[in-house]
Amino acid sequence: MTNAMIAQAEKNSPFMEQLDALIGALRKEKSPDWIIQLREEGVVRFRKLGIPTTKDEEWKYTNLSALAASRCSPAVKSTLSPAQRKDVLARYCSKADVNIVFINGAFDKELSNLGKISGSIEIIPLRDALTNNAAAVQEIWAHYDPQQDSAFVALNKAFTQEGTYIHIGDKIIANQLIHIVHVTHSDGEAIATFPHTFICLGKSSEASILETHVGLSDESVYLADPLTDALLEENATLHYSKAQKESLKAYHVGTTRVWQKRDSTFNGFSLVAGASITRNNLDIVINGEGAAAFLNGLYSVYKDQHVDNHTSVDHRVPNATSNQLYKGVLNDAARAVFNGKIFVRAIAQQTNSYQLNKNLLLGKECRVDTKPQLEIFADDVKCTHGATIGQLNEDEIFYLQARGIPRNIATRLLTQGFVDDVLNRLTRDSVRQQVAQLVAPSLKVLEG
């Protein structure tokens, strides 16, 4: 077959063939005209790009051919039993927080608790916001050229319907944690979900947002293709965490885009504690002087799971800071990819940028591909990066053993220490506990 024929065959893959059936249901629903148009543009762009292959430099180490070969059905609305619903509430919904719950991609009003929301803090299901807050949503999206959207952002847009719209007014400090919980469950056919989260922080405002993505069982087969867009106005501070523990048979291909204005702070954390294949893109645009972005991440995977984190920080202005620490624990035959792009434009003098990726390999067949990608066009900047891949240090293990600590406990203690180093960067106790709870099962594997 020629390359052109292969490309054609991939575009005719079962997933692509099924696209019309997937979208059909959505087309029957009544929606604002601009949304109908936006979805169709998304369909056109996704069809043009297709599901990426490993020939694409951006996807060199992550192979989605199994996804391309699968057929997803339109997600069936809430299929959870009353006991499962109770379990979701108990595990993920603290009464202290604002909770927005999605089951199989659809907003679940009964499980959610939007709290007593004042006029200056708006937390609205996207379905309503698309009609009532259209201008605000459009303003966030206006920062990006849709012709540059990646395949999965385009695909997500093709399904624009469900999600969350959050707007924090100027000078407002939202004290309560805003917790968005995405639960996916499928007993039979593969399904797909396309949630959106829009976050807009007014000038000098502050908010803490946690997005949790979980599969109810490790047997569920689905694709989660979420898109989160955050706009930080001048001097705003966003604490944003994304914590993921999907089914062992799920695909999670998510994108988070953050647009930062002057003096704003993005305090980000990403946890990946499961999915057959995970790909997370975190794209930061620093468009205002004095802004700071902190990107912390942890991935802990085992069996034959694959996790791929792509971060991108685009320094477009002078005097801004970015700091990244991503740590990974791999067991069995798990694979991890870290690709950290840092662009420093010619104008962005006095940029201070730091990136570190550390990997702990506990399994005999695991593999890591880590790739810093720095493109620096300014001449007066401080940019450093580093990557490590290694096993537990035998000297450290012996030191603990020499103090009476058995080897298996020493291993767990050291791995926990490796993990805590980045977990402790989560300063809000309830978020750290939630994240620690999600990562714990993957670390427990060590004791076996």
């Binding site: 000297d395 450290e396 030191y399 020499a402 009476g404 600590i405 058995p406 020493a410 050291l414 490796f418």
Partner: protein, 251 residues
């Protein structure tokens, strides 16, 4: 209570210990001195069970419940649980693991082995602070990762502090005095002396006689080329300080 018999050991096919014999009774302090590369630290590590060394001949007998057992067949943690303690020459930094978590795990492992109840975390905290005070260590260290960003002197004090927490029957101090200023050495030596009793024993490995002015040994052994070439009372330490080791190795 402790006896090394004809111990031979190698690392990567290089023979380092060539037949060591040493007997230590409860209540005694033994010092081992010797030039660099004579095998002093190797001996300390082998007693603790370091996996890099291969024992090719001999045995190390240790009395547990009135029975002599060969500790060479035990895992490092089992030796520690039976009361053998090594104060490391180069204490290891452990990022991410706090001093309190580390020492509680260690102390509780010993409790479990001895069939005693584990200490409650609050009580352990009080207990640990008391031991830190004994070695004049700042309480801020309690929540810091083990040995990370500790100065050389703080690391050595930390070793003896751990010894105070675990209260071993046989303590092996591997060049605990190297690199210490005189004040730190006094603090370390005072700590060691307070832990001495008629029921425990100490093996002090050192390159310098200075430490032995503070920790008074009952016996001094000179180790050269993997063998003990001379054993005597504490005066021997002064003699080698004065004359060096050459006169011993030429024999």
């Amino acid at each position: 209570m402790f006896e090394i018999k004809n111990l031979h050991a190698k690392i990567n096919d290089t023979e380092i210990l060539r037949g060591i014999n040493l007997k230590i009774n409860a209540g005694e302090v033994h010092a081992i001195m010797g030039p660099n590369g004579s095998g002093k630290s190797t001996l300390a590590k082998i007693i603790a069970g370091h996996p890099d060394y291969e024992v090719t001949e001999g045995e190390i007998l240790y009395e547990v419940n009135f029975k002599k057992i060969n500790i060479l067949e035990m895992e490092p943690e089992e030796r520690a649980q039976e009361g053998i303690f090594l104060a490391f020459q180069y204490p290891v930094e452990i990022p991410g693991v706090s001093m309190s978590a580390f020492l509680r795990a260690s102390f509780n492992a010993l409790c479990r082995h001895q069939g005693a109840e584990e200490m409650d975390p609050m009580d352990f905290d009080v207990f640990l602070r008391k031991k830190m005070k004994l070695l004049e260590m700042d309480e801020k260290f309690i929540n810091r990762p083990v040995n990370v960003d500790f100065s050389g002197g703080e690391k050595k004090r930390n070793e003896i502090m751990q010894m105070a927490v675990l209260n071993p029957r046989l303590a092996v101090l591997d060049e605990t005095d190297s690199g210490l200023d005189i004040d730190s050495m006094r603090i370390v030596a005072d700590g060691v002396n307070k832990l001495k009793s008629k029921n425990n024993a100490m093996l002090v490995i050192t390159h310098y006689q200075r430490l032995l002015n503070y920790i008074i040994p009952d016996f001094v052994h000179i180790l050269v080329d993997g063998r003990i070439v001379k054993s005597s009372g504490r005066d021997l330490a002064l003699e080698v300080e004065d004359k060096g080791y050459d006169w011993l190795s030429k024999k």
